[in-house]
């Protein structure tokens, strides 16, 4: 019997195979065209070596009864991922470690007589805190003399955005949201400051590379006529690795970097809030928590302690960077910090707006934490309470939300620079709007503050 099935829109380009979902499980189909490469991957020891090193997603070969599995060479059931994130949601260090991982995989692959035919940033996912290649069909047998076919893709997906984030502006990773196949190198070359012409890696792989693309853009040439030695092939990987390694970014001057030092909470109020959130999470026991406006992840770590897979979203690249570096340092693997502007969250992009999922399409989460967030949505962004409630009802089953009244000094700070047109911004209006979508299970005043913590479940 053919069951309900669905080919995943990000995989239709690859002639080697495709990805489909069946009964909530994701499978990878291997086509006959990829048979030799797949067999080599499995039999050469490359697969085992990469999986053991935590660099490649593991899978099992399975038999499934589905139209997309028909006439397949193999059907694989990879380890299932709970959340897919995209490079335009990663902080600097996440993109950098994803780039280094791709190059590490390429180096291991060469030792086993294979090479990456794709170096797409979308093929890397953070699985329990570590970057892992999820596209098992990314490898091809290395033929002596062949250039690295994914060289341009690596430069566009990894090196160019990293260079721009490091040298020009941290927000330029958002170019990846516009250019689905990575930042065009001529654009990167023009945006990168003059001093990058004196950095060998950037000069070679971005500036001169872009010039070369421009020079040969309309000149036909046979790929087979270009050959590089094995040594040059290794040298190229090494040069890219050095170029990436040298790039750095230190958070400074962004708006939320020292947020926890600037809140109006006295230590006792903060402690009470932590205790309340911990008690609620203990009661709910959610498997997946989205912490919205997470800053550097103080409350995300409480969710992680309670065993939840936690996605820690914030709008500020500095906060996400700090959060990620802290998680790495602590060996915290249940938290994934990501960059997200809630008022303009990641859209569905690519062919038919479906190759990369929107933020909302990746939900709902079991529980959403919205702590010290409501005033930013309602006052800074003029969003009416009922729209905010509607939004939360679409992305979670239960909600832990903090109401911050007008009398609060942080709200007063927001109002000091704008006209107070928010006559309806009070606790009563807040409750009324949220009660249309949620059932309020508890409301507790946070001691030593004017704020209230609500626990609600979706109606």
């Amino acid at each position: 019997m053919t069951k309900l099935n669905n080919v995943i829109a990000s995989s239709f380009r690859d002639p080697s195979g495709s990805v489909f979902s069946l009964d909530g499980c994701v499978y990878r189909r291997v086509n006959d065209a990829y048979k030799q490469n797949y067999d080599h991957l499995m039999e050469s020891g490359l697969y085992r070596s990469l999986v053991d090193a935590g660099l490649l997603i593991d899978h099992e070969e399975v038999q499934v009864d589905c139209v997309h599995a028909q006439q397949a060479y193999k059907v694989l059931r990879p380890r299932q991922l709970s959340f897919i994130s995209y490079p335009y949601e990663w902080c600097f260090s996440q993109l950098k470690i994803a780039a280094m991982t791709s190059l590490k995989i390429q180096k291991v692959a060469i030792d086993f007589g294979m090479s990456l035919k794709d170096a797409s940033a979308y093929n890397i996912q953070f699985v329990r805190g570590r970057p892992v290649l999820i596209d098992t069909l990314s490898f091809e047998k290395y033929r002596q003399g062949q250039p690295w076919v994914a060289y341009r893709q690596f430069c566009q997906h990894f090196l160019a955005p990293l260079v721009l984030m490091s040298y020009t502006d941290i927000h330029l990773n958002q170019l990846l949201r516009i250019y689905i196949d990575g930042v065009p190198l001529d654009l990167a070359s023009r945006l990168a400051p003059f001093r990058t012409w004196f950095k060998f890696g950037v000069l070679a792989h971005i500036h001169l590379h872009a010039k070369s693309q421009q020079k040969f853009a309309d000149k036909g040439t046979k790929a087979a006529s270009h050959r590089i030695s094995r040594l040059a092939f290794a040298g190229l990987t090494n040069s890219l690795e050095t170029a990436v390694k040298k790039l750095s970014w230190k958070p400074k001057g962004t708006e939320w970097g020292q947020y926890y030092d600037q809140t109006n909470y006295c230590p006792a109020a903060m402690e009470h809030k932590r205790q309340l959130v911990a008690e609620l999470l203990e009661k709910i026991r959610p498997a997946v928590v989205w912490d919205l406006g997470a800053n550097t992840g103080l409350f995300s770590s409480i969710a992680a302690e309670k065993g939840a897979q936690t996605i820690s979203f914030d709008i500020d690249p500095a906060a996400v960077e700090k959060n990620y570096l802290q998680c790495t340092k602590r060996g915290e693997n249940s938290i994934l910090p990501l960059l997200l502007d809630l008022t303009n969250p990641s859209p569905g992009i690519g062919w038919q707006n479906a190759e990369r999922m929107s933020f909302m399409a990746r939900g709902p989460a079991d529980t959403v934490l919205a702590l010290a967030l409501i005033h930013h949505l309602a006052i800074s962004n003029n969003l009416p309470f009922d729209r905010i409630a509607d939004f939360f009802a679409r992305i979670c089953d239960s909600l832990i939300i903090e109401f911050v009244p007008k009398s609060d000094s942080q709200v007063q700070r927001l109002l000091s620079t704008r006209e107070d047109i928010f006559a309806n911004y009070d606790q009563q209006a807040f409750e009324k709007a949220f009660c249309s979508y949620f059932a309020v299970k508890s409301r507790t005043k946070i001691r030593g503050s004017a704020r209230t913590l609500y626990f609600m479940t979706r109606k």
Binding site: P147, W148, Y151, R152, C155, P184, L185, D186, L187, R190, F198, F200, L203, A204, H205, L208, H209, A210, K211, S212, Q213, Q214, K215, F216, A217, D218, K219, G220, T221, A223, H226, R227, I228, S229, L231, A232, F233, A234, G235, L236, N238, S239
Partner: protein
């Protein structure tokens, strides 16, 4: 030194292009030219890769060689220290 050599080599290789770029003015980029849909940046990438891979390979050889020299001397030194401590 290596960087100077590379810059000179690549500037020579692209001299014609740089000249053409000046004639184009600011609009001489790939994306700004007319027939965008028919332009394949992959060709230039492939040709450039062959060129740059050759250049970086020499540096790579030196790097490997240097690491070997260092490890040889560090082993020699370590052995010397060990013998001294045994005496």
């Amino acid at each position: 030194m290596r960087i100077i050599v590379i810059v000179v080599a690549v500037v020579l290789a692209f001299a014609g292009e740089l000249y053409a770029g000046m004639a184009y003015g600011a609009n001489g980029s790939v994306n700004a030219t007319g027939a965008l849909a028919y332009i394949d940046p992959g060709v230039g990438s492939m040709i450039f890769q062959v060129l740059i891979a050759g250049v970086v390979a020499s540096g790579f050889v030196i790097k490997i060689f240097w690491a070997r020299i260092r490890s040889f001397f560090s082993r020699l030194f370590a052995r010397g220290t060990k013998q001294e401590s045994e005496q």
